[in-house]
């Protein structure tokens, strides 16, 4: 529904007050983190976390340190952020594309097994990662991917990351497929029939009609999937063991020492690690929300 036209100004003010309060509520933990990230360790221990630092309690050092830990120089193709991107971008794009193609194959068909196949896809979204960790690592050991990649040093050094890409892609397929399928089911069927009458084949219909029309859904799927992959900790933890291949969440967690904690650096690093996803949400949050809403 739209406007409440007879909204009294008092109730309007109250409404905005509540909305702003909610916004503060959603932002407060972030603020606390940010304040911590610009404090010295001493200032942190001697002040309340959400209060801004004053005097010589202020420092940007944690950010330099965090950046050094999380990424280091951008020029050489290494560093945790780079590695995360190396994993997240292909995994996101791949699972998005594959999901879209699979969804197309599973839409508008009426054969007996379809419900079963779909159910597998749907249930696949609900797998707790814990349940598959042990078999998963065994699987990759058996595959021995590095043997196949030995000829390409660039990839051979990133075997763990490539395993991660494949794993995330596989685990992303169910959700992507279901998302796209539900989207495709909302398409005007006569449009697809028109294309068939116009002489387009099954494949051509995907290329020329379905794919171009999937843009809004791709926005949703890519944002969601990117966030998932980027924020994943568990798979990265067990699949990547080479320090040169560590991803952002691992690097972030690494800032927790065995006994010694540097909270300001951790927080700065947390922001550094969250930067891409935060950015994605700030920049594309509208598309995301509208993609969700546009479904109706």
């Amino acid at each position: 529904m739209s406007t409440d036209t007879e909204g009294l100004s008092v109730s309007r003010v109250a409404l905005y007050a509540v909305l702003v309060a909610m916004a503060l509520f959603y932002l407060a933990p972030l603020e606390t983190g940010l304040m911590t990230a610009i404090k010295t360790q001493d200032a942190f221990f001697s002040s309340t976390p959400f209060v801004p630092p004053f005097g010589d309690g202020f420092t940007l050092q944690p950010w330099y340190e965090a950046w050094a830990q999380m990424q280091g120089p951008l020029t050489d193709f290494s560093g945790a952020l780079y590695n995360s991107a190396f994993v997240a971008i292909p995994a996101t794009v791949l699972s998005g594309l594959i999901g879209s193609v699979a969804a197309y194959g599973l839409t508008n068909l009426n054969w007996r097994g379809q419900a079963g196949v779909l159910m597998l896809f749907v249930a696949g979204m609900f797998v707790p990662y814990q349940s598959v960790l042990v078999p998963l690592t065994r699987f990759w050991t058996i595959v021995g991917l590095q043997n196949y990649l030995a000829g390409v040093p660039f990839l051979a050094q990133r075997v763990g990351l490539i395993e991660l890409i494949v794993t995330h892609t596989a685990y992303g397929i169910p959700i992507c497929t279901i998302l796209f399928r539900s989207y495709y089911a909302s398409f005007d069927q006569s449009m697809l029939e028109a294309a068939r009458i116009d002489g387009a084949t099954f494949t051509r219909i995907y290329q020329r009609i379905i794919f171009p029309l999937s843009k809004p859904m791709f926005a949703v799927v890519l944002i969601y999937q990117f966030t998932q992959v980027w924020n994943d900790f568990l798979f990265a933890l067990v699949l990547v063991s080479s320090p040169t291949s560590e991803v952002a969440t691992i690097a972030l967690n690494k800032l927790q020492g065995s006994m010694v904690q540097q909270y300001n650096v951790q927080m700065a690093a947390a922001f550094v690690a969250a930067l891409p996803t935060l950015l994605v949400y700030v920049l594309f949050g509208d598309q995301f929300a509208e993609g969700v809403a546009g479904e109706t």
């Binding site: 280091g72 690592t137 065994r138 291949s245 065995s258 006994m259």
Partner: protein
């Protein structure tokens, strides 16, 4: 700070053995055996001073063995849980790193039983080294009779740190406290006489309470009872002792800081630094924080007594390195382990880390007054009991159960049910 490590890995063409299956590694090892193989070192020393300590160690190692490349692979920390996950996975998949950090003692049992560790013969544990290590520590390195680990550092667990100003204000003399029960009274006195928190503590995760409890237990019952109850697992024979120490811990709890459940140990420790708290029981890594705090000097501002009742003991928390089978670089590993056992290595590493060397023959010059006094205590200690909280006294399985029991105790402070849980934590045999 990570730059240094990265240079070390530069030019490493082999990807750290990652994903390398056992067999192919074996052959690779044979072919390139001893000829400057890359040593993949997995550890959890990732933050601040810990990292510096490791770097100091690796520098020394490099000078000693310039032909060995070190592939430094710090695994994310949190007292090793995440590292556990990674290492266990890799060992299970017969793809271990060259060496990894682990608590010795019972923490190694599973590895030994699973036959995944190489025995360290004389080439590492030379007679010279055996002579330099104290028996308690040597025992930890050979959980089943054979040496499988090299302890690198020692932290003491049975410390009671305090803020001198606060204690003076409260009129409490820590050296006069004779047993854990006396501490309760002291805490009450502090509570009466000052605004400060009598004892800083954290209960967000269970390990601090575990280590406090085991120290209390030692304080009341001595090493033999402790060994019988915990190390040998005959805890059911010591139920009343267990209860008593739990009750004492519960008494202490009255005097903990209010936010104990929401902070980490170092946030608790900072209360001592700030003068907001009087005592804290912690391993001597806590002193690292005092050292880095400004205007907070040893003896004048803070000091330490062995936890009441345990002055003759040196509760050992130690990290060690092992020699996994299917090793991608046996020679390099052997070199590294040997080096860890040397005076040079321990002299480089420990002062920075804030721990003392396991070897008794390391010169104390580098160690500053506090650690020097710890070294002295270590040398004079009658026993070096292992610890539950830091894995050396019990198997991981039991350790997990005890953690669970104390996670419950931290919530309910129920002595009876926790006693039951502790008794049940050990396999009944």
């Amino acid at each position: 700070s990570s730059g240094g490590e990265q240079t070390e890995t530069e030019g490493t063409t082999q990807a750290g053995g990652e994903g390398t299956s056992g067999e192919s590694t074996e052959t690779a090892t044979e072919q390139s055996g001893g000829s400057g193989n890359a040593l993949e070192l997995v550890h959890w020393w990732t933050a601040g001073g810990e990292q510096d300590a490791l770097n100091a160690l690796l520098e020394g190692f490099k000078q000693e063995y310039p032909d060995v490349e070190v592939n430094n692979n710090p695994a994310p920390g949190g007292a090793g849980s995440a590292l556990d996950t990674v290492v266990k996975n890799r060992v299970l998949n017969q793809n271990p790193p060259s060496t990894f950090q682990i608590w010795p003692g019972k923490a190694l049992t599973q590895y030994v039983e699973g036959d995944v560790l190489n025995t360290l013969g004389d080439s590492v544990w030379s007679q010279e080294m055996r002579d330099a290590y104290r028996q308690g520590v040597q025992d930890l390195a050979q959980p089943s009779g054979n040496y499988v680990a090299v302890p690198l550092n020692i932290h003491r667990l049975n410390n009671l740190f305090y803020n001198t100003a606060v204690l003076e204000e409260a009129g409490v003399d820590p050296s006069s406290l004779s047993d854990p029960a006396a501490v309760t009274d002291a805490l009450a006195t502090i509570s009466e006489n000052t605004d400060a928190v009598p004892m800083a503590h954290q209960t967000q995760s269970p390990w601090s309470s575990v280590q406090l409890w085991e120290t209390i237990f030692l304080g009341y019952n001595g090493v033999d009872a402790y060994n019988d109850a915990i190390v040998n697992g005959n805890i059911s024979k010591h139920e009343s002792a267990v209860k008593k120490s739990l009750r004492t811990l519960k008494d202490y709890h009255q005097h903990f800081n209010d936010d104990a459940g929401s902070i980490s140990w170092d946030q608790a420790n900072s209360k001592v630094v700030n003068g907001d708290a009087a005592f804290i029981h912690q391993g001597d890594w806590a002193a690292g924080q005092y050292k880095s705090a400004s205007d907070f000097a040893y003896e004048s501002d803070w000091n330490m007594v062995p936890f009441p009742g345990t002055s003759s003991m040196y509760s050992v928390v130690t990290d060690s390195f092992v020699f996994p089978k299917n090793n991608p670089s046996p020679d390099a590993t052997r070199k590294f382990l040997s080096y860890c056992g040397t005076v040079d290595a321990q002299e480089r590493f420990n002062p920075v880390k804030g721990s003392i060397p396991p070897r008794t023959d390391v010169p104390a010059d580098q160690f500053g007054p506090f650690l020097s006094s710890q070294i002295e205590d270590f040398k004079n200690s009658e026993s070096q009991p292992p610890t539950i909280a830091h894995g050396t006294a019990v198997t991981p399985d039991v350790h997990g159960n005890i953690d669970e029991a104390f996670a419950g105790f931290n919530e309910q402070w129920n002595v009876d049910s926790t006693t039951t849980a502790l008794v049940n934590a050990f396999p009944s045999n």
